[in-house]
Symmetry: C2
Subunit: 146 residues, 2 copies
């Protein structure tokens, strides 16, 4: 069972911004930190901005930051936003969908899944903040030596 790459990237962005709360971060820095494509991140960040999860400051000294304190950004709400639809199986192409008992069971299971995420804020994901900062910085600024 997999969340979409879109959700995966959105969560990585929020964690990176949470670890670096208080300073503006560039998309390039986040892309380097996770070794992922900057183009893929652009769309995610733009969407997170439009949805009010992150704030974009334009200009040479600009960058992005969390739109609210990490303690106030709910993980369940974020994942509900990025996982539009939450179709656990390919019911759209299944001929028995109109009568299938799995539809209700899956809906109930997804609510239970999201109910757990609803209990956490982005700040709760940062308990090991100093280790996270070190892991993220390791990729941004390679130490060069062994």
């Amino acid at each position: 069972m997999r969340l979409t790459r879109y959700t995966d990237y959105a969560l990585r962005v929020m964690i990176h911004l949470g670890v670096n709360e208080g300073r503006l971060v560039s998309i390039a820095e986040i892309a380097r930190a996770y070794d992922i494509s900057q183009n893929n991140l652009m769309k995610v960040v733009q969407d997170l901005g439009q949805a009010g999860f992150v704030e974009t400051i334009r200009g040479r000294a600009g960058g992005i930051r969390l739109a609210r304190p990490a303690t106030e950004i709910n993980v369940g709400r974020l994942v509900r936003h990025t996982e539009a639809g939450f179709m656990v199986a390919d019911c759209a192409h299944c001929p028995i969908a109109p009568a299938c008992g799995l539809t209700g069971v899956f809906a109930e299971a997804i609510q239970a899944f999201l109910g757990v995420l609803d209990r956490y804020a982005v700040a709760d994901l940062l308990d090991q903040r100093s280790q996270l900062a070190a892991l993220l910085a390791r990729t941004v600024e390679p130490c060069g030596g062994e």
Copy 2:
């Protein structure tokens, strides 16, 4: 959030066999009913057989059937079997995995998801059995009209 196609197919097989409980069914019939590849189904059915969910009767009059009554086959147990690993995000390729708070949150959310499935048997998915049978048969025996 998506279950693997493997799980999707396994659930379709179990529902088809549940609807047709009491008679032997061929893989070809299941493939036609759902309009999916017989080759893809073969591996799933073989695995379900090895895991004790279905029973294969060889020979000309052979076929497959549920290994136990549909009331006794737990959906959670089945999905735990087919979804080996249950990695909700691509943590394996994420540099912050060792310190990331999502690991524990996801583990908790997955348990909640599976906890719901644990409350259902395959028989519970067949409440609309006659409608399911009609939908499955429609593809097997096209009516020829229209």
